[in-house]
Symmetry: C2
Subunit: 205 residues, 2 copies
Amino acid sequence: MAGGSAAASALSNPWRTLLQRALDANAHLKHSTFFQLATVGGGSRPANRTVVFRGFQEHCDKIQINTDARSNKISEIKEWPLGEICWYFTDSWEQFRISGIIDVIDGSNSDPTKLQQREKAWFASSVKSRSQYLGPCPGVPVANDDHIKDVHLDPSAGPVDAYCLLTLDPEKVDYVNLKSNQRLMFTRRQEGEESSDWMAEKVSP
Amino acid sequence: MAGGSAAASALSNPWRTLLQRALDANAHLKHSTFFQLATVGGGSRPANRTVVFRGFQEHCDKIQINTDARSNKISEIKEWPLGEICWYFTDSWEQFRISGIIDVIDGSNSDPTKLQQREKAWFASSVKSRSQYLGPCPGVPVANDDHIKDVHLDPSAGPVDAYCLLTLDPEKVDYVNLKSNQRLMFTRRQEGEESSDWMAEKVSP
């Protein structure tokens, strides 16, 4: 999922080099691509859930996450688009805390480029993963087990309404390695679509 | 860490029965007691970090976490004491999202009972874990590697100033099992120090 373009961009970005190394070192673990995304919901309540890393958007550092447009977090993120990812690698004992602004790209988005990105991310998922979006609305009470229905999805069909792509644009990355007891703080100095300038500072763990 | 009292109380609390089962099923993994704690910091920014489960407080459902009183999160939590734990069990594919109010118990606390709890939690940690609080202030820039100094801690000495106990008092627990594709939402109905009444509802994942 963190494919060729990710590796290429990582060269110009110090924390992505570390992240790519962590992904490689933990690749034998299915959960190595899982992280926790914290956002702020109604009444300024913190919300936190496990999501799956779907790679970086091409030519930039934006982190892609697939989600259900019907889940609570979508309206919450539209209201307050800040997020912090906490990504702990259980084998190499490394933690990346990545904070930034989240963009919600659902089917109603007016930007054709973003709709293309959504379509691309949709087809990059497995058919099994895609068919989840045909299930019942998440978080709604279920009477019995009658919600477990067979769903059929045409593998060539484009994104369904319930499919939503989130992208988190990193502004700060707090990296700690618990084996070497080293901590690095990366701060983005310059904003830009194609490239960013990152400042690194060594801090106490 | 989730000892006898935890198991005993779990009988009267449906989500603690599930949590105890998950802890047992994943006990062979060191990281099974690690979870991510989300809080809200200055400027309503979400913050998220990995912390270690230090068991339940006796006779109640409060979740104990050790932390450094000098870290940013302490002033942030004092300002806004809401938290959400996201606890993902990598072997059994279960997630617990536990939200509630956090109590900060540092050495300046005026409640003698809470100071006793802090002392008890201090001695329940390993000497190695305790000696971390003698290190430099977390997050402060370091010039070279001169911060790696040998620290000596008297194993019989009580909690140092930098040691802080956090307790999170759960109000809502969102449980999902990704193997059975079942999700349960637990909501606390009644507040009380010693016992709580929990309502459970089956919702779609």
